[in-house]
Amino acid sequence: MGSKISFFNKGIYKKTCKRFFPWSICYGLILLVILPAMSGIIYNNRAVYSSDGTTYRNTLTGLTGELVEYTASLMPFLIVIIAFAAMFAGMLIFSYLFKERAANMMHALPVSREALLITSLLAGLTLLLLPMVLAEGITVLLGLLFGITYYALLHAKLLLAFCLITFVFFSIAVFCAILSGHVITMPVLFQIVNFVSLWCWLLGGLMKELFVFGCSMSSELSTAAKYLSPIIMLGSEFAVTEYPDALAASDLYTGTVICRLNFQMVIIYTLCAVLLLAVSLLLYRKRKVECAGDILAFKGTAWIFQILLATGTGVLFTILLYSFFDYDIVRMPYLSMLFFLLGTPFGFFAGRMLIRKNFFIFRESAKGFVIFAVCALLLMLSVKMDLYGEARRVPDPEDVESVTIDFYDSSVQDKDAINEMIDLHKQIVENRAMLEKRRVKNPDAYEEWDHISIRYRLKNGGLLDRNYEIPYNEKELSDSSSLIARIKAVSSSPVFTKAYYLTEDFVPEDLTNVTFYNQSWQDMDAAEDSADGETSEDIFNESYYVELSREEEITIGEAILKDIEEGHLKRQYAGDAPFSYDQYLQYEIKLDNPSELYRRNYKYESITINEDMNYTIQALTDMGYISDEHPLTVNSDPMVGYEKDPESEVISPDPVTPDPQPAAISVP
């Protein structure tokens, strides 16, 4: 009898496929409904809807747009479906690892572990990919049949991407199956692998927010955390993007490719999945069959499991207690530590109970818990006491590439401005004790508060974010040597004001799509009362705004620039009363590099006209948009003057108290 090394076993492959094909059919049906069937419904609806004389080309363009839009909106959902399908496939196909009898039987067969794993992997992929190929194949055919070439091409590309994504998620499922000894643990591990980075990011962020002066949780998931969380990364980044522009620009009849699918990312994940499979294979060779039915297959992973559960219940307990007592969590770090420690035993001992399958584990795991609690406490205290110097950290000016205050689209590279900001930052850090002391007090009783957020982009590519709560009172505001006065002076300096409203290297030619808005609420109120049939909407459309010509745009750009340079236009900060004209400018500025925050290559901003903006008022007056007939009107809405979204205000106008001044006249 020959003894040849084999990595595939036909018998097991056939048996696995045959056993689980009903599940595969269910998965296929789901995909068939959400891909080809829904596309067909959209097609039919569109055909009926557009039978009123619109041209075939327009119909097809609109239809393609709708179908692509449908696909785009479906992408995150599809990624989640693929991930969960892969998880279920893993649970089913590797179920033989989780039951003693099945594990004994399968491992007594004349098949090596390598062959068993690879054969199961291939069987799983077959069960997952066949429905996908079928559903996407029908979608492609549907597109071709209806002459929607672009749509067919898009789905042909998506099919390839989905196959790779399926491979990625199934590899994770295989890895989890090898690590777990119980069918219930496997999906839990799958979720942990997919979201553990998110959890660590949240925990780290919460810890920084609670214990590190000046640090706060970022509103955006870090890139590393995103990459380590495939469901989030693929669900959010692998998408059909910016199709409307491309649709408009492309000839749909020739099926020009317009979709932007992040294949590079999928390839990176695929390579990682191959590595993960190699690790799974190594682990499987080490795995003991007798662990079937245990929570975890490898004892060394038990403590990770317990610590994850313990920190989870600790955080949950802290948040629950604070929610219950309605306390501001950030202001009481030591109480947070206590609440956290009170919550950890639940997860720690529950984890141990699950691992041991026994309720009576307290005596044996008490020592472990004490060690964990002491370590956790020491870690929290060391962070709070700033043993790692994070709270004191102020970058060296030489290391800083740019600095931004409060808004990400307003970075400043000017050396002097950077030095000034670093000096200010140092002053804030030096005043830490005072700031923290006043922070713990009831902030609403005696003082006003404002925030300053500083973001340094370092030359090594890193970011350093700080966010400080600054208390102040009237006395401090009037004292030019006070911290609040210094912050106010720096943040409203021409350099930072220019970067905030425009860009640091702004030239008037950069200004585009400038619209002058004349938001007189009185017009709207008057319209409601008028008897000539005009609605507020009519008046709004006639009078609300005017788009500036290219020449006017450049002129207004120059005027704004002068106003900033001469200090007529400043950023508002603590104690500044909102200026309040009804009139404001809205504009876009082209950016050389895509915006960090919004990932677009233009900046969208608005300026409310104030009485000091001589140059801008003069320019608008010269253009005829401000005149005796169309005067500047003071708005009593305290919110006006900040960033405003004219559309939202139009849609739901919430008229403020009528101003005694006469109604503004429509701008021609």
């Binding site: 009898m1 003894s3 099945a102 004349p110 098949v111 069959v289």
Partner: protein, 299 residues
Amino acid sequence: MIQINNVTKTFGGFKALDQTCIHVHKGSIYGLVGPNGAGKSTIIRHLTGVYRPDEGELLIDGQPVYENPALKSRIAYIPDNLFFFLNDNLKDMMRFYRDLYPRFSMERYELLREAFPTIDEKRSLRRLSKGMQKQAAFWLAVCCMPDVIILDEPVDGLDPIMRRQVWSLLMSDVAEHETTVLVSSHNLRELEDVCDSVGIMDKGKVVLERSLSDLQGKTTKLQVIFEGDLPVFPKELPILHISNIGRVYTIIVRESREAAAKLLAPYSPLMIDTLPLSLEEIFIYELGGAEYGIKDIIL
């Protein structure tokens, strides 16, 4: 054919096998007996390549078993707890084994249909009775044409006729193909009929391993009547057990019949009778020495 040398296996601090040694000759039937928890099933799982030993070696035909698919294709294994895939019938399982075992004989499968007339090949195996499942397992196992058959409680659940049928099949396989059989069972009466040699396990160790004839020839039951009370025997005497009913003493001696009679002759017994021992009695008396004796419990 089968060599197990100093195999040790520990489960979470519990030593299930402790320097276990077993040797089985080719073409023989080896009976593995022992009390519950002695380690019989554990050693069998090692022999079938399911478990990896912590220490020691397990060889079949000179090759290690663990992760050796070529060797495992020559081994058929029937566990005490059978596993069949959900909804699979006998034909499905036959196809599965046919794909996995290169020597699987369809001819034999067809021939054996007569031997197992009660089994419905198209009925889900999980819906069959325990006994029928065992029959199906035998049917499939012998069709794999194995060189080694490993059985864990094989006839448990079979009716007397089917037990005889199964043993007959196994014995004919041993006779015709020199198949080596290792069987673990608590049914010592049956093992006595079929086994060539026996190993007695206790607490993870093989306490006794001999051919059955040797074992039975070397342990003797004596029924003796002494003139007075029971004499005090020196500790050197290989006496496994002494009990009495009135003046009649039953003494188990680890010696041949002749040697045992000679051993007691110096004590001038009034009457001495030598009787053969069954395997069950040997098992009980041997393990009695290992603190696993039958306790006289009065409720």
